[in-house]
Structure formats: structure tokens, C-alpha cells
Symmetry: none
Subunit: 215 residues, 4 copies
DNA sequence: AATGAATGAGCCTTCATTCAT
DNA sequence: GATGAATGAAGGCTCATTCAT
């Protein structure tokens, strides 16, 4: 459609995001990507050196673009409460995951089943986000609770969000209905409430155990 | 070791579980599987018709074996409470996931990124488990809460467990420490407590909203 | 022609000898070789692992076969003189070179411009021949002549023969007439006479210089 | 170093001489040549029409430059003897071959294994040299000896020199020591002595045969 | 004079699959 | 029940070449 407007390099990135998302790294073929982009096969070697180089660039592009569009403090007012910050974090994560749907499914695949060669880049891009979550949790979890337990909470929260990915098992089992983009806010509220309740329970259990030890 | 004792078909299944687990469906090669199994290449077609047929059989085998060893009511006494049943469900799921680790990572891959052709079998095997969870949740979630919200709770619970899979992103980012097999019980307790708190919060929120509507 | 009689592996070797000889290693294509052999493309990988593996095997095959057919003591009677042994050596070398003509030109190419990966095998196969020549020369060259000078004589002899290769420059410049197989004996006699004269001259020069030093 | 001083065309020729020499015609890539020359890829087509055109030009350049530097009468005094002229011819040939070593190995490759498309140019450049050698030999070989036999002598002489090429088999087998540039004169003397002896032997043999026929 | 983005043919290799035994 | 020789389609990648600037 826009094969005459944008430059070939960008068309290649665009098509690669689609194909990698649909077929995964191994399943995608350079030929198919170039055909969809409407460019010669040799261009992937010319611009990105490799199939892997192309993949890496696509990944980086999508990740940063999604993060720019849906940052972890998305839609927060001036002085948000910690609960609001957690909600924003969860909501933005869900939005990013949803945004990747269809032509940008590559990111989801990478989250669910990372390619060995991309682990480094992945960690590089993801670690800042994890730090944000850790910082939010430090305002919710009892400060005496051991670090490990807090990490479990973080894992629980991210795990819930990831599992809503349209590429996860949940999507295919059809036991649960497919969710629409406009339902994301509902899901975000649900996960937030669920998680706040979970954290509260962890706190209570910890305090109860502490008292029984002391008493 | 037992390459001379067990029959070729079983050796093939064993080797296939390894290779599919290590490399994924696309990444695994029939040649490699047969080499590891110590059998001729044509045997895969002879016994399983296809690479896909072999994959399917491996999947069914591992799934049912894991389910036999760690059933969803694992370790429950005679008349368990609903909370105990949820804990048993979560714990058995974690054990099954962990059991598949290493030699049998194929299952985890399939959960995270199902092959299209296996969705049917997958649903066939998984749906009974989801029914069990639904039934457990029906004893914990306020009966007036809409079906959809209950489904969200189920999704949250399974999502948490899945995310502990050693093949998921969490495992590779190293922000969280790798867990040992003996730590599964700890994780199971944590997820159970977190989820019970989550469900309680969902219930409370629903009632609060209901009262505000009524009042 | 005999594509139904001999086994595929041999047909492949035969065709490869032809194509490598005509086009060189780089210039030859696996596709062309397989087409000429009347076999599928994957067979080169199946039997020889690589294009290089095939090349290596072709080389070894031709070399040993030529050596079996025209050994360096070809046509010698019971107690040959040293001159006769040199003549036999030169004649057999010319015969081997000529035998390679056409479909077996690969060897000539390898002698003239060795592939890096084959140097080892080449030396392995050639060194015994060089030892034979050295031993012959030790009966012709003055024993007081330094080793290096003897090596020069060996080089001169082999160089003369090699240059008659139908693939060498001489062949293409057309300043010299192409030689027929039946002329090999004439050429062998010429080179032998030339070389014996050369060795004699080297001996004389050495002695003359020695006397002038002494006197 | 002088990548900014000399014009692009010359830098291209220089780099091409290197790369062609190292990798041969097929092995060399236009991209590599242009990268080494520090110019755009399209320039080879612009200046030389073709990869082959570039090769041809490089060849002609090197050949004429070597011939200018080491002409076949190199270092001769006013009225040289025929033997001295043969020595000069051999010595200059060895020098030219050696000069091409390293950066300009292309010439040696071409002598050993000429590209079909260059045979014409090659003959054009080489034939005058062969005429010089023929003329020298006419002063050494018995005038009654048939033309063909004289040609054999010429072939023997050139063959000996060519075989000293650092790219020939001799160089790689390590059975003979590598020669240094300063040893060229020694080698030239050796080949000259060897060849004069050879020619003398050919003459003697011819006369002996003639007498036996007459007598 | 010179560039570099872009191309398509073609190369080597791999892979799942089959057939004769 | 089991083998392994043999296949063809397809994949990633390279290369000489051209075109617009």
C-alpha cells in the first residue's frame, strides 16, 4: 500500500515485524519478509547483515516505540498514590502487550520464549521496567519481608499480565473469551485489585507468623 | 544406556522429548532425534507417520505421565477445605512444570507457544484441569460475581504459575534468582496466599460496589 | 551413459572429477556436478558432507589410481641403471599428468594452484614421490654437492614435467604445439636427456669451483 | 596511506592487484576490492565496465611494469655472449616472478592457470618474450636439430623458472626450503648451468644419433 | 568523477520424507 | 520391525551489477 512512500529499510522492518510475529524467528523466512516489503532479497543483508540482525533491529524498534507510547507511568496525575502507580504499571504493560498484537506479535514471542541471541538485548531493555515495579512494590510490601518474597510478588504480577497475551495458551484454549482492546482497562483493574489483595495477604501472613514466633 | 533393552519406538519417544524440549518444534531435526535414539531415520515415519505425529505423541505421553504423577489433588487428606484444594492445585501444577524441566521441556514450550496443530489435543488434555480449577474457585468466589470475573481470577492463578516456568522470560532475566526443586513448596504457598488474598479483594470490591449501587 | 549401472556415490565422484577439472574448485557448482551424475543435490552432503569433502575424496581417488597405474618405476627391468630409473620417474610423471587430461584435470589444477585445505593431503600423497626422486638423484649428483643444490635439481626436473601439463600456460599460448599422448615418450626422453645433461653440468661446475678453490 | 592523494582509479587498480593475487579471479570480490581501495562499489563498473575489465587492466599494468623494471636483457654489458644472454633471460624472469610475490601475485596465478578470457592478452604480452628466448636458443642449439626439439628446450627452461613461483606446489610442500629474494641470483645461476648442460646433452645426443645413422 | 541503495540470479546447505531391501 | 541410500523443495546468504543522484 505504502510501498512507494516509505523507504525500503523501513518497509523491511515493518514487514519483518509482521512475519516474525506470525511465524516466530525460525518459522519466518527472509524471502517472505522481502516479498511482503516489496524489496529484493539481498536488502536484508545490505541493511541488517543477517536475518538475526534484522530480527534484533525489529525487536529494539518495537520495544522502544511501545515504551514511548505506553510508558509505565501512563495516565498518572501529579501526585499519585502507590496503588495508582501499580495500576498504571499494570495497565501500561497490558497496553503494550495488546499493541503488539497482530503485526507486532514478535515482542510477545520474545517475552514468552526468548531467542538465545537476544537475551542480552532483552535484559537491557527490560531491566529498567523491573526496577520501576520493584520500587512501586517497596511502597506496598511490608519492609521487613525478605527480598525473595517481594520478588515473588513481582513475578506474580508480571505473570498475570503476560498470561493475557494473545499468544499464550489462554488465548487458544478458548475456555476464556478473547478480550477486546477496550476491555483492557477492565482487565487492568481486575489484575490490580487481585494483586493488591495478594500483597495484603502476604503482608498479613508475614505479620501473623512473626507474632506467633514472638508469642 | 538402555539403548538395547527398550524397543526402538520408546527410545524414539524419549529422545524426541529431549530434543523437542531443547530446540522447540521447528528447531528440532528428525535426524538429530534418530541419532540420539540410535535408530534409523525412516523409523519416525514408520511409527508416527510424521514429525508432527511424533511431536503429538511425545506431548500426550509427557502430559499424561506428569498428570498421573502429580494430579491436581496431590497430597490432600480426606476432607480438604477449599483453600487446601486450591493449594494442592497450584502445587501440583508447579510440580508438573518443574518435572518437565530439563529433559522434558517440551511441555513448557507448548504451554507458552502452542503449535497450531496441537491446540486441539492441548485443549482436550487441559480442559479437565481448568474445570477442576473452576470448581474450586466456585467455592471461593462470591457466587454473585459474574462468570467473567471468576475467569479472570482463574487466569491470574494459572498465569502466576506459568510464569515460573524455567523457560519463561523470568528465568533468563536473572533479576530473580533461579528456584530449586525443593523451593517449589515455598513458591506454591506464596502463590496460594497471594491468590487467596486476590480473590478476597475481588469479593470485597464486588460487595462494596454492589452496596454503593444499592445504597 | 552408465547412470544405471554404477552406484550413485561413484557416479558422483566421476562427475565431480570432470567438473572440478574443467572449472576449478570455486568455479564448479554442486548443482552441475549432481546434474551430470544424474543424482539429487542432497547426495553430496549425504556421502561427502561438503563440497569440500567431495573435492577431497575426488582428489585422493584420482591420485592413488594414477599412481597405481603409472608408478614411478614404471616399465623398469630387473636391475635398472640410475639413469633408467630417472627416465622411468619422469615418464611416469608425464603419463600421470596426461592421464588426468580431460575428465581428470583436477589433479593438475591442484598441483599448479593448491587449495589451502588440501595442502596437507597433497603433501601426504606427494612426499613419498619426492623421496623417490631424491634417492635417484643421490646416485647422479656428486655426493659432495650441498643438499640445497640437489634440491634445485629436483625442482628443475619436476618443473619441466609440470610445465607440460595441458593446463599450464604453455598449453594456451599455442606457441608450442599440443602434444599427443603417443608423444609422451618422446618428451620423456627429451626431458631425461636434458636433465642428465643439466646434472652433469652442475657436477662439473662444482668440481671446477672446488679445484679453483684448492689450487 | 595515499588513499587521499592518488586518484580513485589508481587506488582501485592497486587494491585489485592485491586481492586478485591473494584470492584468484573467482575468489576475489568486487566489494572487497572497493573496500580496500576506499571507493564506492559502482566505481569498478564505471571505470572498467566489468570485474573482468578490471582484471584485464590490472594484469596488463603489472605485466608491463614488471617488464620495464626487469627486461629480458637485464644487466647485460655491451656485447654479451649467448650464455650470458640466456642467464639474463632466466634471471629477469625469476625477478619478475618474485617481484609479483605478495602484493601482486596475480601474475603468477595467471601464468599457472590462465583465465580463458585473458589468453589473448596473455599471448600478446608473452609472445615477444618467447621470441627472445627462441632467438637465444638458436645460438646454442645445433642448427640441424628440428624445431620441435628446440621448442622442448625452451619449455624446459621456462618450466623450471615457473616452478619456482611461490604459488606453485613446490612452495607448499616444504620439502624444499623457501627461497629469499637475495637467493634469486643463486637460483638463476643454477637454472642457467642446468639448462646449458641440458642443451649440450641434447646437442650431443643428436650428433651421436646422426653419426650412428650415417655410419 | 563518484556514490550507495537496491536488485535478482545463483550458490551451498539442510531438512523431512520415501523407497527398495 | 527396521534400515539407509536417495530425493526435491526451500532456506539463508553472496555476488556482480545497475540506477538515481
Amino acid at each position: 500500500m505504502n510501498s512507494d512512500e516509505t523507504c525500503a529499510r523501513d518497509r523491511l522492518l515493518h514487514a519483518a515485524a509482521e512475519v516474525f510475529g506470525e511465524c516466530g524467528y525460525k518459522g519466518a523466512t527472509v524471502r517472505d519478509i522481502c516479498r511482503r516489503a516489496g524489496v529484493g532479497i539481498a536488502l536484508v543483508n545490505y541493511h541488517f547483515r543477517d536475518k538475526e540482525g534484522l530480527y534484533l533491529e525489529v525487536f529494539r524498534n518495537l520495544f522502544t516505540r511501545a515504551l514511548r507510547e505506553y510508558p509505565p507511568d501512563m495516565g498518572l496525575n501529579e501526585s499519585p498514590s502507590t496503588e495508582e502507580r501499580l495500576h498504571a504499571f499494570i495497565r501500561s504493560l497490558l497496553y503494550r502487550l495488546t499493541m503488539m498484537e497482530g503485526r507486532h506479535a514478535i515482542m510477545l514471542r520474545e517475552w514468552l520464549d526468548p531467542s538465545p541471541s537476544l537475551v542480552k538485548l532483552h535484559a537491557e531493555l527490560t531491566n529498567p521496567l523491573l526496577k520501576v515495579l520493584s520500587e512501586i512494590l517497596s511502597g506496598l510490601v511490608d519492609p521487613h519481608i525478605p527480598q525473595e518474597q517481594t520478588a515473588h510478588c513481582a513475578t506474580s504480577i508480571i505473570g498475570q499480565c503476560m498470561f493475557y497475551s494473545p499468544h499464550s495458551m489462554r488465548f487458544r484454549l478458548q475456555a476464556f473469551p478473547m478480550y477486546q482492546e477496550r476491555q483492557i482497562d477492565t482487565i487492568a483493574r481486575s489484575i490490580t485489585a487481585f494483586s493488591l489483595g495478594g500483597i495484603r495477604a502476604i503482608n498479613e501472613e508475614f505479620r501473623a507468623r512473626g507474632e506467633s514466633h514472638e508469642g
